[in-house]
């Protein structure tokens, strides 16, 4: 599967190192790319991933997800009976490079399909390019509302879109708890903040009040003031729009501030598996909740295989799988199912079919696309860390059995330290 990384380019890149030092030479070698990479038999899929820069952490997880999917897909007859070959390029977390990368995939490498990069910020320019060449952009990790508000017809998100992810929990709150003040804090981010705001809007409507609401900039490194603001509000329920690593820092600050609400739910961070438990310490994870679009233990199509494959390939255990992995995997699955159904590699046909309201199955559960390309079929889950295990607790009455929600333990308020 490692063609993806270097491909036949690797053999030539000594030459190119020198060549690269002249814009003209760039062009020449660049021209050579298509014939060099052209492989008639396999289905080639181009994906730009962030292997360095701000998104490098998630970028790598995303790549793992895609790679595992390709392995799995090939084990299950590939696409249209042809083997799947992934081509990866790193975009160093920069939109400039994303634009170049997808142009190269489509125009130089002449890939059959493209899949989405990591993050809403990069998905936007990427989908513009795909659209320009009438390519479909299936993705699992670019669900910010602004991606779908542009009227592009070629973008499809297989994960539950940002806006709904915390609503499952909000609904549960409204149903089971009496209205009370809630503490909100969220990062200023196009994916995260809408999650919190949407849940807040829902809860406000149900008579829950806002104890405190703080938006903090993405580059914050000192969370103590935000944490103490939340702590001081004394709210029994805290809904946080965090991303790794600030979610970890936030928990640490809560512990230090001796603040322990009955319920603590974080937009993301606790879903990062080992990263999360290592960072906050396993004993401190007890009772922390996180919405997620994927259940590690679920029986959805290919999930068991994916988990097994992941552990076989990258080690760790079922809880150490980053949520980006299934999201990428699912995008691949939907692509395969749709293409096999369409029976050709035509992106135009594919796009029409995806809009037809057809249903697909992924490791994350059912997928069905609304007109704007968001997944209306998904029911986001809520997970809770219970005795070191990452267990689903919501939605009730879903296809998978869920454990009851417990209140947050250990009581950070009374016993100093972890």
């Amino acid at each position: 599967m490692h063609i993806s990384r270097f491909g036949s380019v690797a053999s030539r890149h000594k030459v190119q190192l020198g060549a690269a030092l002249s814009a003209v030479a760039l062009a020449v070698t660049g021209l050579a790319v298509p014939n060099a990479n052209a492989a008639p038999k396999p289905i080639t899929i181009g994906i730009s991933v962030s292997l360095s820069g701000d998104f490098s952490g998630d970028g790598k997880a995303t790549q793992q997800g895609y790679k595992i999917w390709a392995t799995w897909q090939n084990a299950h007859g590939g696409i249209l009976g042809r083997p799947v070959v992934l081509k990866f390029l790193s975009d160093a977390s920069s939109p400039t490079q994303v634009v170049t990368n997808y142009q190269k995939f489509i125009t130089s490498d002449k890939v059959d399909f493209v899949l989405g990069p990591y993050s809403t910020k990069l998905t936007k320019p990427a989908s513009d390019i795909a659209n320009r060449y009438h390519y479909v952009m299936l993705e699992g990790i670019g669900g910010g509302p602004s991606v779908f508000s542009r009227g592009l017809k070629n973008v499809f998100d297989v994960s539950a879109s940002a806006t709904y992810q915390l609503v499952t929990y909000a609904k549960w709150l409204a149903a089971t708890q009496k209205p009370q003040p809630i503490a909100y804090a969220t990062m200023d981010d196009p994916f995260i903040q809408p999650m919190v705001d949407f849940a807040k809007a829902y809860l406000d409507a149900k008579g829950f009040t806002e104890a405190v609401y703080k938006v903090y900039p993405a580059e914050t490194t000192d969370f103590s003031p935000i944490a103490s603001a939340v702590a001081a509000s004394g709210a029994k329920i805290a809904i946080l729009g965090t991303m790794p690593p600030d979610g970890y820092a936030m928990i640490q600050n809560f512990i230090q501030a001796k603040y322990n609400p009955d319920q603590l739910i974080m937009a993301s961070g606790p879903d990062q598996g080992a990263d999360f438990t290592k960072s906050v310490g396993i004993t401190n994870t007890e009772g922390i909740m996180v919405p997620n679009t994927w259940i590690p233990t679920s029986n959805y199509t290919g999930n068991k295989d994916m988990v097994a494959l992941y552990i076989k390939t990258y080690g760790g255990d079922i809880n150490s799988i980053n949520a980006d992995v299934p999201e990428a995997f699912a995008a691949g699955q939907v692509l395969a199912q749709a293409v096999n159904k369409v029976g050709s590699t035509s992106n135009v046909k594919l796009q029409a079919y995806l809009h037809s309201g057809a249903k697909f199955m992924s490791v994350q559960g059912p997928v069905q696309f609304a007109a704007d390309g968001q997944n209306s079929g998904a029911a986001p889950y809520v997970f809770q860390w219970q005795t070191g295990q990452y267990v689903p607790v919501l939605p009730l009455g879903g296809p998978d059995k869920v454990s009851p929600i417990e209140t947050l333990r250990p009581a950070w308020g009374t016993t100093p330290g972890a």
Binding site: G57, P217, S228, A232, P244, Y248, Q272, K278, S279
Partner: protein, 290 residues
């Protein structure tokens, strides 16, 4: 009460930012070098302490005994092989070199540690002292004490020792310093050593208070630079005041208004200060005529 809490946290964290900024400002003052790599070096320091705590189960504070000399050596190495050879346009060339070094370090760390987020751990990291309604996170208190101690050492070295004298001499007037037989090269080398050695300590504290990965450096560098201008180039005391001032402003604005305006408020104040005192709060005015 909340504001008071914020002020206390501001002061505690400020102490540790001052420590990181001190290295930067010293290097500025003596060598006209904007050490753009400081962020990456701090992350490097954090990773070194992290590895020691993970593999040898050494207490993070103890790990400094190993990391600090290592980083100091690295600093001297950088000076001898990268900074010293620069002849023309020192200020910018050195800045760019340091940026290149940062890129290099980030790349290497990214490969060694595979860019997942990690955090340094010790049993007491989550403890905190409670006085009345106020709350003092232990790790911040410790780091503040450590920073205070190191800063006073630094002060002692610069103002009470022979090396300090030659250091200040080279700060004020390198040419004259050379004339009176001070080996400014040696001074510079040691200064960069100290500056980067401090990054090891700053890194350890950063790593215990934040989860980090190879690209975490960018969040640090901007703040440190700002602290250094506000405090005035080459002024360690200035850095201390500026750092605490900055963090307190940010934290207070964050709790009474909104975190997103915290840093903005600070930057605005910085601008105002510079309009009145271009050389910063404690900077020496450059005497240019003749």
């Amino acid at each position: 009460m909340l504001v008071l809490q914020a002020i206390i946290e501001g002061v505690l964290v400020g102490g540790f930012y001052a420590l990181m900024a001190a290295g930067l400002t010293l290097v500025f003052g003596v060598m006209d070098i904007v050490n753009f790599a400081i962020g990456a070096l701090i992350v490097l320091g954090a990773y070194l302490s992290y590895s020691l705590t993970i593999h040898f189960h050494i207490d993070p504070f103890v790990s400094l005994i190993f990391t600090t000399p290592l980083m100091t050596a690295l600093g001297m190495f950088i000076y001898v092989f990268l900074i010293k050879p620069i002849k023309t346009n020192k200020v910018v060339m050195s800045l760019l070199t340091m940026f290149a070094v940062a890129t290099l370090i980030e790349g290497i760390l990214d490969i060694c540690y595979n860019s997942g987020f990690v955090q340094i751990h010790a049993s007491y990291i989550n403890n905190s002292l409670r006085i009345g309604k106020l709350n003092f996170p232990l790790i911040y208190v410790l780091s503040f004490l450590l920073s205070a101690f190191l800063l006073s050492c630094l002060y002692f070295v610069t103002y009470r020792t022979k090396f300090g004298r030659s250091l200040r001499a080279s700060m004020q007037n390198p040419v004259a310093a050379r004339l009176v037989g001070i080996d400014t090269d040696r001074v510079s080398m040691i200064t960069l050593g100290i500056g980067i050695g401090l990054a090891a300590i700053g890194g350890m504290i950063f790593g215990t208070t934040n989860a980090f990965n190879a690209s975490s450096s960018y969040d640090i560098i901007s703040r440190l630079l700002v602290i250094v201008i506000l405090g005035g180039f080459g002024s360690v005391g200035g850095a201390l005041v500026a750092a605490i001032f900055m963090l307190v402003i940010q934290d207070v604005v964050a709790v009474v208004w909104s975190p997103v305006w915290g840093s903005t408020a600070f930057y605005m104040i910085l601008m105002l200060v510079l309009l009145v005192r271009p050389q910063g709060l404690f900077g020496k005015k450059g005497v240019r005529a003749q």
